[in-house]
């Protein structure tokens, strides 16, 4: 039975909410760390800011086991195909966080080597500006991503993301 978003009955929408609740509190990040923002990512992950409060502390270094791709740092043109491969290797459902201004727009690296924002290569869910972002900004982004996940429709099968 194919159920479209907003057309499900009481049971299916409760089920979707339940799946969303489970997913948003068990995000497994894949840290795609290429540059100095990685230091700030480590600060966020460590005990002081404690990403584990949001169930998002345990980095999985295999894209197949992760559902939140954190792109942390400048992505060069040389690195872009690798980022795309990692994104494609991740199983659905998956979300992408652009961490720092270089990943969002290329930052001040307006030059021959740098991708002018990773959204030119893969779709992005949350953009975190800053050079580097404060840990509080990252936590804010994570909570907003959780809100987004909660508001999405989660079918038992198929893709959460309707268009890439």
């Amino acid at each position: 039975m194919a159920v479209k978003e907003g057309q499900g009955g009481f049971f299916t929408s409760r089920l979707s909410d339940g799946i969303a609740w489970a997913r948003k509190w068990s995000l497994f990040p894949y840290p795609f760390v290429t540059a100095c923002c990685g230091m700030e990512y480590m600060a966020v992950s460590a005990a002081h800011y404690d990403l584990d409060r949001f169930g998002a502390a345990w980095p999985r270094f295999s894209p197949r086991q992760a559902d939140m791709l954190m792109v942390v740092g400048t992505i060069s043109q040389k690195m872009a195909p690798i980022l795309k491969t990692v994104y494609e290797q991740m199983c659905e459902p998956k979300w992408v966080v652009a961490f720092g201004v270089c990943t969002c727009t290329g930052g001040f690296y307006d030059n021959y080597a740098t991708v002018q924002g990773i959204d030119r290569v893969i779709p992005v869910d949350v953009y975190i500006p800053g050079c580097p972002p404060r840990p509080e900004t990252v936590l804010d982004a994570l909570m907003k991503l959780q809100d987004k996940i909660q508001s999405e429709y989660h079918p038992l099968t198929g893709s959460v993301r309707k268009s890439a």
């Binding site: 040389k78 021959y112 959204d119 953009y127």
Partner: protein, 179 residues
């Protein structure tokens, strides 16, 4: 251009005694000495600075390139070698200028200083200066498909050569979170 007191510097004195008119110019600034040698004597000068017991420059700090296009100087390219002597605890800078602007070629010094291997590849990658005798003169930072030399002053600053097709990004992106 030659500094009148340059001969007071021991390394410059050694070099000018040995190379004579192979030395194009010398320069000293706050204790840092520089010499510019003719490209055909460049390799020999590096070997001399390394082997000579008074100079004894046993450590290659760096090797880099310069594009002097906007300075309107000829020849256009310059290769700079930074040397350090652990024997005398002193530093020296040797420059040379490949003669052909269209296809700059200079001798490799990898056999004298193995540490020059990657810097020479970087200069090749960024400026297109070819080093004859280099064991593996390929691009080191840019990807193989890259065309041109990005640090040349006539490389367009906005030119992009993406390896993947770049998506067009609409201004209005529903569902995206901007903090």
């Amino acid at each position: 251009m030659t500094d009148a007191n340059a001969h007071a510097h021991p390394v410059i004195a050694c070099l000018s005694a040995r190379f004579g008119d192979g030395l194009i110019e010398t320069h000293r600034h706050r204790g840092d000495a520089t010499a510019v040698v003719r490209p055909d004597r460049y390799r020999e000068a590096i070997a001399f600075l390394r082997e000579d017991t008074d100079c004894a420059f046993d450590f290659l700090t760096d090797l880099c390139g310069v594009d002097r296009l906007e300075l309107k100087l000829k020849p256009r390219f310059e290769v700079i070698v930074y040397l350090y002597s652990s024997r005398t605890n002193s530093r020296f800078r040797l420059k040379t200028r490949p003669l052909n602007d269209a296809d700059p070629v200079i001798d490799s010094i990898v056999d004298l200083f193995p540490a020059a291997n990657w810097p020479e590849r970087e200069v090749y990658d960024m400026f297109g200066v070819r080093f004859t005798g280099h064991p593996n003169l390929t691009r080191i930072l840019m990807y193989e498909e890259f065309v041109g030399y990005p640090l040349r002053k006539d490389y367009p600053v906005n030119k992009r050569q993406p390896r993947l097709p770049m998506r067009e990004i609409p201004d209005d992106r529903p569902g995206m979170i901007f903090l």
